[in-house]
């Protein structure tokens, strides 16, 4: 390979430079052709698209449907507030604008974070909220200086509001910030302009009904991004009002009676399954969830040992204790393992024939020989030990299933627990253990693996109150009441009804004897087998209270023509009659008093 002479080299350079010029010509020609194609040949097509771009359809968010109680009291509503909004393409310099706004308004890091997030999804001519819930003095402070803030304006902001705060927290649920994962692609249009969605409770259950239909307006923007013309295209349609079966007065009575306690109250209309009250204590304020929850509030709720976020009436699983006895008794009568009048020996304890273990009665010394009605009245454990042995685990289970134990009630709320009606098969599958007869004995008094939700207890109570029909609890008023007749003769049910009346007048539930309404009921005490322990096995919250049994009470009234059935669980409440009984009584009184009182004009 010989080196080129300078002259040759220069000739070669010139040739190569010409090749470069040729390449430039070729690429320029390609470019020119493409520009010509776009700007001349396809101009009409792109001009149309561009014109289409200048007219945007902006969604108008609908108001969410109200939630009312059975008398029309508003339990959840949309309230108008004021928010500071920035229209990105009208503001001169976003960061600077926000910085200057901070001099006159409180705008914290969380506000800014949410603003940047919303900003990334918004059209540049669409106002984005920077600060919500402006106070009147903040409104005034901004109004004075608003001319200094082009592109910043006060806009009305619609916000879900729960006037009774924590009282209906678990039953109504709450709406919270809509996250893209919560809706499907094909639902996007239905949520145009909306930034919240029902997260739990009725708000989630009836989301489709309450949500409403977004409208939209045609917004024409000029070359500066100013709205020159906006035309209503489609009116937003407010969500449907949800009429519930809830009764504000009854719920308030439940809330008051449960103040400072942990547990749950459910009140049903035993004739049709209307849920009159459903309260879980402790509760939380759903209003805090509406505009995304602050981290401080959330960690406080999460770390609260009382677990206020847990819906105890729907998901709390408790051993029903002696409240199970009326249902076991009814099964026993129905299955004819005993007659109503037959007396069984009482005593201090019961022993399974041929074994040594003693199953004691709750009452030292026990009861005498009693028939079924007396045994329910006195909550005679020894009587029910024997009944349980006569029935056997399978028959007890089948009997309890009739009353809805071990199954979801079908109430119109998301996330219901089914409770547990144990069986030897279940025990083997769940824990790999063999069933022994002692567990059958304990099932007779509602202990052991038997678990029920307060809602299930109320439903079962209603089925005795209404003479033997199993109702499906429901919260939406217009939904047809579904009741299933149980296969019990009226006379058989009447025995149980009388026994439950006796329990309140002369038996374990005597605290309710002096009520002006004739109450029938049954106490229950659920033993705590397991104290709460931390990971290293230490008992948490080592107080006497947490070692105490759960107190339960089921009741209905009036005894002759029941209008309300109630189940109450007070965690660590000790004896059922003493703590849970008054709660049931307060709820019953609140309901029956309003029914007899003349209509209060609104």
């Amino acid at each position: 390979m010989n080196a080129l002479l300078p002259a040759q080299e220069h000739r070669q350079f010139t040739r190569r430079l010409l090749a470069v010029a040729g390449l430039i010509t070729l690429l320029t020609a390609i470019l020119a052709t493409q520009v010509y194609r776009l700007q001349v040949l396809d101009h009409d097509h792109y001009a149309t698209q561009s014109a289409h771009n200048t007219i945007a359809l902006l969604p108008i968010a609908p108001l969410r449907g109200r939630i009312l109680d059975r008398h029309g009291q508003i339990l959840a509503d949309d309230r108008t507030g004021f928010a500071l909004a920035i229209t990105p393409n009208k503001a001169i310099h976003l960061r600077e604008t926000i910085h200057r706004l901070q001099q006159i308004l409180r705008i914290n890091a969380e506000d800014q974070k949410r603003f940047s997030r919303d900003l990334s999804h918004a059209h540049p001519y669409q106002p984005v909220f920077l600060r919500r819930d402006l106070r009147p003095d903040e409104l005034a402070a901004f109004a004075v200086q608003r001319h200094q803030f082009p592109g910043v304006e006060i806009r009305t902001q619609i916000k879900r509001y729960y006037p009774y705060g924590s009282l209906f927290a678990h039953v109504l649920g709450y709406v919270g910030r809509l996250t893209p994962a919560e809706i499907r692609e094909d639902q996007m249009a239905d949520y145009a302009g909306l930034d919240s969605i029902g997260k739990s409770g009725l708000e989630a259950q009836y989301e489709a009904l309450l949500k409403g239909q977004p409208g939209n307006q045609e917004v024409e923007v000029d070359a500066r991004g100013r709205t020159v013309h906006s035309r209503l295209h489609l009116l937003a349609r407010r969500g449907t009002t949800l009429h519930t079966t809830l009764d504000l007065a009854v719920q308030q009575a439940a809330g008051r009676a449960m103040a400072g306690r942990q547990g749950a109250v459910v009140a049903l209309d035993p004739q049709n399954g209307d849920v009159l009250a459903a309260y879980s204590a402790p509760a939380f304020d759903p209003n805090a969830f509406v505009d995304s929850l602050s981290i401080a509030v959330w960690s406080k709720l999460r770390d609260d040992p009382g677990t206020p976020m847990t819906n105890r009436f729907l998901r709390g699983s408790y051993p029903p204790g002696s409240t199970i006895k009326p249902f076991v008794a009814l099964s026993a009568l129905h299955d004819k393992v005993i007659t109503a009048d037959q007396r069984l020996v009482g005593g201090t304890y019961y022993q399974i024939p041929g074994t040594k273990h003693k199953y004691y009665d709750w009452k030292p010394g026990g009861h005498g020989a009693e028939n079924l009605r007396e045994a329910i009245r006195d909550s005679n454990d020894v009587y029910f030990y024997q009944i349980a042995m006569r029935l056997g685990v399978t028959q007890i289970g089948n009997g309890l299933a009739h009353f809805g134990f071990g199954q979801r009630s079908g109430v119109d709320l998301p996330g219901e627990s089914a409770g547990v009606v144990p069986s030897p098969d279940w025990l083997r599958q769940r824990y790999g253990q063999t069933w022994y007869q002692g567990q059958t004995v304990m099932m007779g008094i509602g202990q052991g693996y038997l678990l029920s939700t307060p809602l299930q207890l109320a439903r079962a109570t209603a089925s005795i109150a209404n003479g033997g029909r199993l109702v499906t609890p429901h919260l939406e008023q217009s939904s047809d009441s579904v009741t299933r007749p149980l296969d019990f003769s009226p006379a058989t049910v009447a025995v149980i009804q009388n026994a439950m009346r006796d329990a309140v007048t002369t038996g374990t539930g005597k605290l309710l004897a002096d009520d002006i309404h004739t109450v029938a009921g049954k106490t229950g005490t659920a033993q705590i087998h397991h104290a709460q322990r931390n990971d290293s096995g230490l008992v948490l919250h080592n107080t006497i209270q947490l070692w105490q049994d759960h107190a339960l009470f089921i009741a209905y009234a009036p005894a002759d023509h029941p209008r309300i059935a109630v189940a109450v669980v007070v965690e660590h409440g000790g004896h059922g009659g003493r703590t849970a009984g008054p709660v049931a009584r307060a709820v019953i009184d609140a309901y029956l008093d309003t029914m007899t009182a003349p209509e209060v004009s609104p």
């Binding site: 698209q49 771009n53 001519y125 070359a223």
Partner: protein, 364 residues
Amino acid sequence: MNWRIHLLRPLRKLDPALMTGIVILMLISLAVLYSGSQESIRVVLAQLLRFTVGIVVLVIVANTPPERIRAWAPALYAIGIILLAITLVVGKTSLGARRWLGAGPLVFQPSELMKLALPLFLAYYYSQQENVRHWLSTVAGFVHIAIPFLLIAKEPDLGTAAQIGAAGIFMMWLAGARRRWFVGLIILIAVSGPVLWHFLHGYQKERILTFLDPQRDPLGAGYHIIQSMIAVGSGGFWGKGWFNGTQVNLDFLPEAQTDFVFSGFAEEFGLVGVVILISTYLLIVLRGLVIAYESRDSFGRLIAGTLSLTFFLYIFINMGMTTGILPVVGVPLPLISYGGTAMLTFMIGLGILMSVHAHPRTHE
């Protein structure tokens, strides 16, 4: 009036044709940015300041003899390589790529420096080679290109790496490496394309797929291309008029002041404006090639030819991507896009062209 002569003498080194092109581009840039920024005087003044700084640098470079620039070339190349290596280790991560090096508020991209340092160094190298056609000098050239190419590609900034690599290849072409090398290189790229595909990052594949079919994700990756083509196409023959570009002013088009500034220009000034713009660019590029042709000095003509061709390459890539004939890569439109670093690089490059023109050497 001696002071006036002293003050004006440096300006004599400026090339009238190139200066005319620069001034026209500057006016276009200010006009487009003024409209695109919703008539923000601040944006226009900032760009004007950059032009002023750029012109001052250009005058200084134009008055620096090519032999002095040539003497700096190895040092610049070495510094560039070291900075690129440092960037990879300690650079600031932005959008998942380490491209920036900085102390406090001062950040810059070493790859920007490399855009000039590599051509300068190759011109230095080949201008002192006795036999350019020897295979060893060709291999050496490839190695000199490969080092910065790989360092930048690793950042990862494949777009810039490719631009720098292309500039290096242009240089070798003009320097006179044997034609078979280029034929081989083209074949190699064509064959290895499918293999290289597997080494691309997800977003890089996405860009290429989007380029092939913008409609596959019209609101995502394809959005830029679609909105940009709408802007250009809706401009038509005469354009929508200054301030009347809806695509840009209503923010349908992102990055309308930086990489996609051409779309806004084409929308408001139409085919007429585009023809004027391309003509202006061609004026600069062809003048650059003429300077290369006229230069009697091997370093001068190599650097002038390469810089002119590279300048054109940027124009072609930018306009190509905004009109939908090339995939979207982050390349600014020379001297029009808002931003300082790239502008300074272009000004220095043009300054080198003027220096080559103003300092003829006939000592060969």
